[in-house]
């Protein structure tokens, strides 16, 4: 069940790293923000979490878009080389992580929060599932599919893919590169917040949960191959599956298992499953 959410998170990060060239350490914070917004809307306004997806997503998208246009565009123009930009943007997102996390603690407190939504069993083909987890999985996969179709079929999707391959040439071909990069960063933040919303339906949330998910997202992105959206999707599903199996054997070993897979993969095939 975790696989869908992992895939969603990783596709978001892959978009930010693969196209916008920002290895976003604060990715998990957007997940946390999404989760808390959904939780707040549910507890104070009794809004259905699935409805709040439609509010949280665009709101965080706008934040991400503005962030890129102000902060990262500025960094990019002052960096000497693409490598220097990668380093400085990494540090900037690190600072961002601190800021967002601290703000969240001030607004929502440092406690663990949770709410109960669709917490009933459903029987499909003789096996019993928790309804909220099933909904989460379906939504996560659905969002990934919609995004994939957007990327593969629309003009804007084509522009994004072009910018991922070669930003300068894409710019010469008439793609408004600054706009596309900001769009990608915003979309990445959007996916993170949606993943956070979905996550809050099944799991307890807290203000410091971000970094854990950032790490998982990075693992998945490497697993699937840097910059490959489909790879991230498959990688997320695989990691979620492995996580569920290990969780069944010994819960305390699940993170160890992730890292073992990750490290072995890096040593044997550093470019990932679908990397070139």
């Amino acid at each position: 069940m975790l696989g869908g959410i992992y895939a969603l998170i990783a596709v978001g990060l892959s978009l930010q790293y693969g196209v916008a060239r920002v290895l976003n350490i604060s990715h998990g914070e957007f997940i946390m923000v999404g989760a808390f917004l959904t939780w707040a809307m549910y507890t104070f306004w009794h809004l259905n979490p699935l409805v709040s997806l439609a509010i949280v997503g665009p709101a965080v998208f706008v934040i991400g878009f503005i962030l890129h246009r102000t902060l990262f565009t500025r960094l990019k123009s002052s960096s000497a080389s693409p490598a220097a930009y990668e380093g400085s943007s990494l540090l900037a997102t690190f600072g961002l992580m601190f800021i967002v996390q601290n703000l969240a603690i001030i607004i929502w407190g440092a406690d663990i929060e949770a709410y109960s939504f669709l917490n009933t069993g459903v029987t499909i083909l003789g096996a019993r599932f928790a309804a909220n987890r099933l909904v989460t999985l379906l939504f996560a996969i659905g969002i990934c599919l919609v995004f994939y179709i957007f990327l593969a079929r629309t003009r804007l999707g084509k522009a994004i893919r072009a910018a991922a391959q070669d930003p300068e040439t894409a710019g010469l071909m008439g793609v408004n590169i600054k706009w596309v990069l900001a769009l990608c960063f915003g979309l990445g933040a959007l996916m993170a917040s949606l993943a956070g919303s979905l996550l809050s339906m099944c799991y307890p949330i807290r203000a410091t949960m971000g970094l854990e998910y950032t790490v998982i997202a990075i693992i998945v992105v490497v697993l699937g191959g840097m910059g490959s959206i489909v790879g991230s999707f498959i990688g997320g599903l695989i990691l979620g599956l492995v996580g569920s199996i290990v969780l069944y054997i010994d819960p305390s070993l699940s993170l160890v298992a992730y890292y073992v897979i990750f490290i072995l993969l890096l040593l044997i095939r550093p470019t990932g499953i679908l990397g070139k």
């Binding site: 500025r74 961002l96 490497v222 993170l255």
Partner: protein, 317 residues
């Protein structure tokens, strides 16, 4: 002739200044005991970790996020052996174990390049952390350990010795042919290996040497916390902090990381005590501001102001 005299006198002036600073630092516990000793020890710790990081990652451009692993190894050495052996021996063992771990890690991973190396080292720290945690809970049925108590003044002097050793090593490696080899690896690894540099050996050995000091400072600083668990010992912040501090200070000059680490450590301490609620927020804002307005760090800023000042002086005359 005149200019040579000037250079010699400048050099001896610098050495004299360094000696005065060193003596002043070494006598701190006598003239201002208490809080400043504790504060200075943690500043020294950050300087040591940062300078060690820069020894390897500065010239080569391999961004290592493994500092926390070496630091944690030192901490655990101290927790396991601190009761039975004298502290000096424990520190040496901590340094040696870190050295060996780094040798192993380096031999295994330095084939990876760019961002993969950074991510790998980061994953490694987390792997060690979770394995240790699992071992402690399932095999030893504990979570953390108690560390032997050491006087604050002793910690301070030991840290000072480690600091001086780190700085000397950094200075001499920079000056030696090893430093040159590292520099050329950073610029073009293939060309360096064609020139006859044993690329892998240079990388692995320098990587291991830089871990030596981190392990030693982990072993001594552990005694200050009295209680440790894997989450404290292998805290990923100890991997990120040196990178931030080095960039904050500027890597173009040996003094850059030193200034960066000292300023950063002091800032952190100040913010935690004065604004414990908002500390992370302010910290983040300063970090982002520093990246935008000082891309070459504090030293870069000073150099810029310096050259501007000289230019103005020349324009005046």
């Amino acid at each position: 002739m005149n200019s040579i005299v000037r250079i010699i006198s400048k050099r001896s002036f610098q050495l004299g200044l360094l000696a005065v600073i060193l003596v002043l630092l070494a006598t701190v516990p006598f003239h201002s005991p208490g809080y400043s000793v504790v504060l200075l020890s943690s500043i020294f710790m950050y300087v040591v970790i940062t300078v060690s990081w820069v020894i390897f990652s500065g010239p080569t451009g391999y961004m290592s996020l493994a500092s926390a692993a070496f630091f944690g190894v030192g901490i655990y050495t101290s927790a396991l052996l601190g009761d039975t052996l004298p502290i000096a021996v424990v520190i040496c063992i901590g340094a040696l174990v870190s050295f060996c771990v780094a040798l192993l890690v380096g031999a295994l991973t330095l084939r990876l390049r760019g961002i993969y190396f950074a991510i790998f080292t980061f994953g490694l720290v987390e792997l060690i952390k979770h394995l240790t945690l699992w071992w402690e809970i399932n095999m030893e049925h504990t979570r953390g350990r108690l560390v032997v108590y050491v006087e604050n003044d002793t910690i301070f002097w030991v840290m000072l010795v480690i600091l001086v050793a780190t700085l000397l090593t950094a200075y001499f490696i920079r000056r030696s042919k090893w430093g040159l080899a590292l520099q050329s690896i950073g610029e073009n690894e293939e060309a360096a290996s064609h020139m006859g540099i044993n690329v892998t050996m240079v990388k692995v050995i320098i990587f291991a040497f830089s871990a030596l000091f981190v392990g030693a400072s982990g072993a001594i600083m552990a005694t200050r916390w009295t209680y440790i668990d894997p989450g404290i010992a292998f805290n990923p912040l100890f991997s990120f902090m040196p990178v931030l501090m080095a960039i904050f200070g500027g890597m173009g000059h040996l003094l850059g990381p030193v200034i960066g680490a000292a300023a950063f450590a002091y800032l952190e301490e100040f913010l935690i005590t004065e604004f414990s609620e908002l500390y992370m927020l302010i910290f983040g804002v300063i970090l982002i501001g520093a990246i935008i307005y000082m891309p070459n760090g504090i030293v870069g800023l000073i150099q810029k102001l310096w050259t501007r000042g000289i230019r103005r002086k020349n324009a005046d005359t």
